[in-house]
């Protein structure tokens, strides 16, 4: 599979939120403004891309040669938690501007199951190093597209006259359902 197809497939055809249901927590929770959801998306792209690379190297050079494949869940989740901390400290030191933009979303990402999901999926799919990084990047871009689109819809309909029982949770879920149906259109690409 070409790298281009890996990105398209990860971002649209198998969209991480709308067809794989990873990262639902923040997708529903942090999607009321375009600006905040775009910043969260930026932080997610950053972390998932790095996490895919690190998880790939750990698996290929340490876990697999030592026959410790079964430890991957434990190792990956710890590495992701540590990685988020390191990225946070690194950004704070080197790029205060980027840190202020992404900083508050970074701790949230440890518990975002999309990060662990991508790392595990890369191993299952047997991607090599470059493919893993691209698939991680594509997945995160798909997450960002989905959350920014949902935030856009929510900003537009926020002031409408909505029946009382649908306000809040149900409305967001219905929007997500309609977006999911729209994203079905991409499945013919694969």
């Amino acid at each position: 599979m070409s790298l281009f197809m890996i990105i398209i497939s990860a971002a649209f055809i198998h969209n991480v939120v709308l067809s794989q249901f990873l990262g639902i927590c923040s997708f529903l929770g942090v999607s009321n403004k375009i600006k905040t959801s775009a910043s969260l998306g930026g932080a997610v792209i950053f972390v998932i891309t790095i996490a895919s690379a690190v998880a790939y190297m750990l698996y290929t050079f340490i876990l697999h040669p030592l026959n410790l494949d079964y430890l991957q869940t434990i190792v990956f989740i710890l590495v992701i938690a540590a990685l988020v901390q390191i990225v946070e400290m690194f950004l704070k030191k080197t790029s205060p501007a980027l840190y202020t933009a992404l900083g508050i979303y970074l701790p949230l990402i440890t518990t975002n199951c999309a990060v662990l999901g991508v790392a595990l999926n890369n191993v299952t799919d047997g991607y090599n190093f470059i493919e893993s990084v691209f698939s991680g990047f594509g997945t995160a871009v798909g997450y960002t597209i989905a959350i920014v689109l949902l935030a856009g819809i929510r900003e537009k309909i926020a002031d409408n006259d909505i029946p009382e029982p649908i306000k809040g949770g149900p409305l967001v879920l219905f929007c997500a359902a309609l977006m999911g149906i729209a994203f079905f259109g991409f499945s013919s690409l694969g």
């Binding site: 709308l18 067809s19 794989q20 249901f21 990873l22 990262g23 639902i24 927590c25 923040s26 529903l28 929770g29 942090v30 999607s31 009321n32 079964y70 430890l71 991957q72 869940t73 434990i74 989740i77 710890l78 938690a81 900083g103 508050i104 979303y105 701790p107 949230l108 440890t110 518990t111 975002n112 199951c113 662990l116 999901g117 595990l120 999926n121 299952t124 009382e164 029982p165 649908i166 306000k167 809040g168 949770g169 149900p170 409305l171 967001v172 879920l173 219905f174 997500a176 359902a177 309609l178 977006m179 999911g180 149906i181 079905f184």
Partner: protein, 233 residues
């Protein structure tokens, strides 16, 4: 002994109805939406999560006084991840088909908000027996929630229940319900009905903040929640 029985009954009732993780607390949404395409998957997922929840609650409660406060979240994650790995290996050995259809969602039990949430909110503060029963109650509540969601989706989306044909042959299955968007749709409908009957769920709060994530269970630990507290104050 009587007191212990009371605790047990109270914890189980709490998990199934008062604080039902799926419908009231809105925790563990990823698996709740992803694997509820069939009742079989839902039961498998529910019981695997229950097993991890019960054992990790018990162990965390036993070691709660040994773990230093500053490293308790990483310690909880390691404990939970170990039991998830055990469940994963058991599934691979004895339930090959179910394991294949649940796929990546089995290892992802690690990041299920319910488990870390209960560890932080209950097991780290309460004695082992109560924590054990809390795990049983929450696990059952989660399993029941998944079964309800999946029964609705499978019955109307495929005309079957646990693979057995239920609907008459002239019933046209609503395909979209067992596809990805159907999950959002059915959950939205259920919460809409609950809202209409004024059953209090956290769904409406959750869309304004991210209380569902375990990171937010700890005050001050998550700046994203701090912003929300400020707004309220």
């Amino acid at each position: 002994m009587n007191k212990q029985e009371n605790v047990a009954v109270e914890r189980i009732r709490n998990g199934i109805s008062t604080e039902n993780p799926v419908f009231i607390m809105m925790l563990g949404m990823c698996p709740a939406l992803a694997v509820t395409t069939s009742v079989t998957n839902a039961v498998g997922m529910g019981l695997s999560t229950t097993a991890v929840l019960v054992v990790s609650n018990l162990v965390i409660s036993l070691v709660r006084k040994i773990i230093p406060d500053e490293v308790r979240l990483p310690a909880f994650i390691v404990i939970v991840a170990s039991f998830v790995t055990v469940v994963q290996l058991i599934m691979q050995a004895y339930f090959v088909e179910l394991n294949a259809s649940l796929g990546v969602y089995i290892p992802l039990i690690v990041v299920n908000c319910i488990i870390l949430g209960r560890a932080e909110a209950y097991a780290s503060k309460n004695p082992p027996f109560a924590s054990f029963m809390d795990g049983v109650g929450m696990g059952l509540g989660f399993t029941i929630g998944l079964i309800l969601l999946s029964a609705f989706r499978e019955l109307f989306g495929a005309g079957t229940l646990a693979g057995i044909q239920i609907m008459p042959s002239f019933y046209p299955p609503i395909d979209v319900l067992v596809k990805a968007p159907g999950a959002f749709l059915v959950l939205g409908l259920i919460i809409m009905v609950m809202n209409a009957f004024h059953i209090k769920t956290r769904a409406n709060e959750i869309t304004e903040g991210c209380d569902g994530c375990p990171g937010c269970g700890v005050p001050g630990s998550d700046p994203a929640c701090a912003g929300k507290e400020d707004k309220k104050a």
